[in-house]
């Protein structure tokens, strides 16, 4: 698989970082034909996350609370999207010290965000041993035209999308996982619903088209033709698809699962609420038992206040994070 020398050498060559000190000698080296960081193992990790909840955390204490509550992975970032909105300014990759503290605190996969197109931030995350990079519109974009070439990494990437064309462009660039963008930091699930329905609806539409119309469909949605053919044939994205942005309650999570995503990201919704541990646990259970309203009712009791939230319709165009990405 395509992995460039500059990015494959950085994370396993034993240069002393506290992460590397912790990792055992990679034992695959003894197995002659082993292929490390191939697309199959990158997309495969996303498959292992299915049916799970990925939670935003800003320090190792929150990471441990999230793991204990049943998070399938944590997203390490300095400020949750609700605070990024409030604070303004340029939002960048997190401090490596903070990311390493979280890598040490939990045994579940750790994700971290790079800016759109900022492939050096992504190289740094891979060197730290981060398990998954989110090339994220929540941070301030570093490139107004291009996203990172994700084939060049052995660390898998997740990218946001608002429609099928955007999802297939990201997959074409090497993303191993897709999420809807939603409108992060609002606690308003409507945009996540809109984007998930857009993607799933466009997939259903492609399945109906005769083959002679698929090239024009690919042109119109700005998507790679081979991926359009594959989606038309299989009726699903070639990679795992999670919902993100504005999910704040157990019922929100179950709603997204019933609409047809593979799992959910919860950002500001947990640690901006009254009782994070209990809410996190409830959202995990609702994601597993998404088609069991009795269990969702039970876990939704006495959770205290959800995050206050901003109605996404009150945001001005310039405040909309989902618009970022090309």
């Amino acid at each position: 698989m395509a992995t460039s020398p500059t990015t494959t050498d950085t994370s396993t060559n034993g240069t002393a970082t506290s992460y590397i000190d912790r990792v055992r000698e990679p034992r695959w080296l003894n197995s002659a034909e082993a292929e490390v960081g191939s697309y199959a193992v990158k997309a495969g990790l996303a498959q292992m996350l299915k049916g799970g909840v990925i939670m935003d955390v800003v320090d190792d204490t929150q990471a441990k609370i999230a793991e204990d509550a049943g998070a399938v992975a944590v997203m390490a970032l300095e400020r949750v999207p609700a605070d990024i909105r409030q604070d303004g300014g340029v939002a960048r990759m997190s401090d490596p010290n903070m990311i390493e503290a979280i890598l040490k605190a939990v045994t579940i996969p750790v994700m971290a965000k790079s800016r759109i197109g900022h492939f050096v931030e992504a190289q740094v995350l891979q060197a730290l041993g981060v398990d998954f990079c989110d090339e994220s519109e929540v941070l301030t974009p570093a490139d107004h035209e291009f996203h990172s070439n994700k084939w060049a990494f052995k660390m898998p990437f997740v990218c946001g999308c608002t429609n099928l064309g955007e999802a297939l462009r990201r997959i074409g660039e090497g993303a191993s996982m897709i999420r809807t963008k939603g409108e992060a930091g609002t606690g308003d699930v409507v945009e996540a619903v809109t984007h998930a329905r857009a993607v799933l609806g466009e997939i259903r539409r492609l399945q109906q088209l005769p083959e002679m119309e698929l090239m024009t469909a690919a042109k119109n949605m700005g998507a790679p033709y081979d991926l359009v053919l594959e989606v038309a044939r299989t009726g699903k994205l070639p990679v795992v698809n999670f919902a993100a942005g504005g999910i704040a309650t157990p019922a929100d999570a179950a709603l997204m699962m019933q609409i047809g995503v593979d799992g959910v990201f919860v950002g500001s919704g947990i640690f901006k609420s009254d009782n994070p541990a209990q809410r996190a646990d409830a959202i995990v259970q609702a994601t597993t038992h998404y088609d069991n309203p009795d269990i969702i009712a039970n876990v939704s009791r006495d959770l205290g206040e959800a995050m206050v939230g901003i109605s996404s319709s009150e945001l001005s165009e310039s405040e909309r994070l989902a618009k970022r990405g090309w």
């Binding site: 034992r27 695959w28 292929e35 049916g51 799970g52 049943g70 399938v72 045994t107």
Partner: protein, 197 residues
Amino acid sequence: MPLRIGVLALQGDFQEHRAVFESLGAAVTEVRLPHQLEGLDGLVIPGGESTVIVKLAHRYDFPDALRRFTDEGGAVWGTCAGMIVMARELLEPEPEPFSLMDITVSRNWFGRQVDSFETDIPVKGVPGGPVHAVFIRAPSVREQGDGVECIAKLEDGTPVAVRSGKLMATAFHPELTPDTRIHELFLRMSAGDISSV
């Protein structure tokens, strides 16, 4: 009547297993609550995050129900996280495994995700040449009790698949490849064929 196979659907890649078993003609049930184990010939504990699967399983008393299921002759196969869940003991403090099989397992034995890999290995009881094995933050068997047979090793001798009667655990993910031979082996085990391999 087709074999009835359950896939533990608390978290992980259970749909991938489901699709393979259905293609082989089994009747597949997604198991989210213990009463759904009733009447199954075999159960797969899929890949996923072992901490999450164990936590959700404890919530609804799965550990006891699973031990009853194996005591009553049900077959169980764990892949990756499933191997961790089935272990008698882990070298790590968390999670608390269910002790379905007499093996000691270490989590994330090969390192983090950036060390994940795929390779070809022969598997005892699987005819037709090596199996393409995908290892994702995979565990490894460190000790095995009497009666547990190692059926696959890496070239350096690291044990990555074990069998004991109607129980099987693999550190890798046959459900992520088009090769269905290990799923076929599990169907034979679920049907009662536990001949030594």
